[in-house]
Subunit: 351 residues, 2 copies
DNA sequence: GTGAAAGCGCTAACAG
DNA sequence: CTGTTAGCGCTTTCAC
């Protein structure tokens, strides 16, 4: 009942192999028979069977996407739809399909990845997160399976892989310098999970900027929290309980910033009058906070798009050297940062 | 170089078919040979080839997920990661994989769906959106291909399909009644795209509640906007330009509400003092608005989970009748609604 | 330019 | 309980 290549062959009065050649548009087939075959295909409503092709070809034309484990709240970050949109665009252009991981825990995920690669379910993999000592990364590298990482490898032994990242160190440094320029000296850093490489890079950029300005980073001003919203709220409590409250905050993620701002407003600390905030990512909703947040646009869409691009390249040319790519970031000034008002409180200049 | 069933067979000194039986854990194989075979598999590092299985089985153990076209901003709604998390959980339990659509336009999507089903790339499909006159829906139904819809069919001829939905009519009605109870009479409705069935249901619930209260719905109080954030903002401008401004707003979607609140605060209209707002979905961030929004929790995760559940059921038992399922919703009262203050402005009671 | 036939890796019907 | 064999639907040498 399913119409196969053979049926088409019969109707077109040619051999199955000829039909196959027409499908792949082989130049060694005459236009006349091509026409004949194509007609037969239309007539019968023929569609190539994907699994048969994959089996014969040893290629699936599909990309595996590994998300962080879905139990984690980060999963709901609008970051992901946006990277996927980027990946999706490139994939679609080159007629690749997307296969999604479903694991809820790290063990489930590594297992799944193994199934994907050993079972030849995908031609390559994109890792949507990068954390310290990641088993998945290590496994993929050992297997020499085509993959790209969004983020950067942490382990030295894994430096030589294909990845696309932002210059997160630089971004954090710039952002810190900006706050410094606005007169802030008590700048706190609210990071995400310390296992994420991006958190480490942010922190180092922050530290560097402070040191360059002759300010020694203070431990009490550096806090990390796993969960996005709750984390943001807890961080605020910790920070605002200090005798010397920070006058500015650098927050790891826009969603976390929502939590931070929420908590601050509950405590009746005004943004930016009492405290300045700057964060990272610039997801869709970040312009909708009250007040709209100043943040670093990391070009999420491009991260996805380029990751797909590099991956497909790797799939097609397995032997070429791994490529690294840095997607530019850009600070988006909105309304959560302001020049620090002097003790006396004379001028109030907003930036 | 890839290790196949034959290699295992050789090492274990059995026939390939026996190995196959061990894989599917057939009860007709003695424990002894099972052990022997399993050992050989470990030893060789054997992993079943997915495409070969799919081909022989006529089953892929994967579910296709059709998102709205990714060009659309709704794509970035945190709604999607959350439904997918639900789908993912069920799928993982039953060892199904997830295959994602990548189309950027409606044409691309319908094409993709056809490839998926005709090419036998997936065993079933979940539609993540439901809109009026949807070609995809129609096609799937014509083909009698297993699928479930998240939302409900609009076209009568398609009533008899499997779907999971909320009672959106009821939810909108309740919400309207709630505002009515708070003394509001000038209640506006800010809907999403009128092509979405959910918008229609919301509107009808709203209309019904008003009529029941003896209030004739006014055209000026009903606006629709496609885009989430911008839409929210435009809607506010339209509504606030009326001579008789509404005192309460029912907004289609939490993200849109962020846009609405942003615009309102720019216009220095205070929420909830000057205007009450209630919206739908209760996505993760909705509790982080300032003030935190009152909204209807539609249980997004369950929508996904149940959709996967019904779909897999359908895949396994194709002949059983289509099932419909209504996921309960629940109003989450937070801080954007308040009793209408009488003209004189005596009491101020918050709810 | 086109056909015949082997094979991708696995499953399942039929024997025994 | 286990082996033999014939496919699943397509690609790809190797002939002609």
């Amino acid at each position: 009942m399913t119409v196969t290549i053979k049926d088409v062959a019969k109707v077109a009065k040619v051999a199955p192999s000829t039909v196959s050649r027409v499908i792949s548009n082989s130049p060694r087939i005459s236009e006349r028979t091509k026409e004949k075959v194509r007609e037969a295909m239309k007539e019968l409503g023929y569609h190539p069977n994907f699994n048969a092709r994959s089996l014969a070809n040893q290629s699936t034309k599909t990309i595996g996407i590994i998300m962080p484990n879905s139990a984690n709240k980060t999963f709901q970050n609008p970051f992901f739809p946006e990277v996927i949109r980027g990946i999706s665009t490139k994939a679609h252009q080159l007629e690749y399909g997307l296969y999604l991981s479903t694991g809820q825990s790290d063990e489930e995920i590594i297992e799944e990845v193994q199934h994907m690669v050993q079972g030849k379910r995908v031609d390559g993999i994109i890792l949507l997160y990068s954390k310290v000592n990641d088993k998945v990364l290590k496994y993929l590298h050992e297997q020499d399976f085509p993959f790209t990482l969004i983020g950067r490898p942490y382990d030295e032994s894994l430096f030589n892989i294909t990845y696309v990242n932002n210059d997160n160190f630089k971004a954090a440094k710039t952002v810190t310098e900006y706050l410094l320029l606005l007169g802030h000296k008590q700048i706190a850093f609210v990071g995400g999970n310390l296992d994420n490489v991006v958190t480490i890079d942010h922190m180092q950029g922050y530290n560097q900027a402070l040191r360059n300005a002759g300010i020694e980073p203070r431990d009490e001003y550096i806090v990390f929290h796993e969960e996005l919203q709750e984390g943001g709220q807890e961080a605020v409590i910790d920070l605002m309980s200090l005798t010397e409250r920070p006058t500015a905050l650098i927050v790891a993620d826009d969603i976390m910033t929502f939590g931070v701002m929420r908590m601050l407003s509950e405590m009746e600390v005004r943004v930016p009058e009492d405290i300045s905030i700057i964060s990272f990512n610039n997801v869709m909703i970040s312009e909708l906070s009250a007040p709209p947040m100043t943040t670093v646009d990391i070009n999420i869409y491009s991260l996805g798009y380029e990751a797909a691009n590099l991956l497909i390249d790797k799939i097609l040319h397995p032997s070429v050297e791994p490529k690294k790519m840095i997607v530019p970031h850009k600070m988006i000034k909105r309304e959560t940062c302001r020049r620090l008002v002097e003790k006396g409180g004379a001028k109030r200049e907003s930036m």
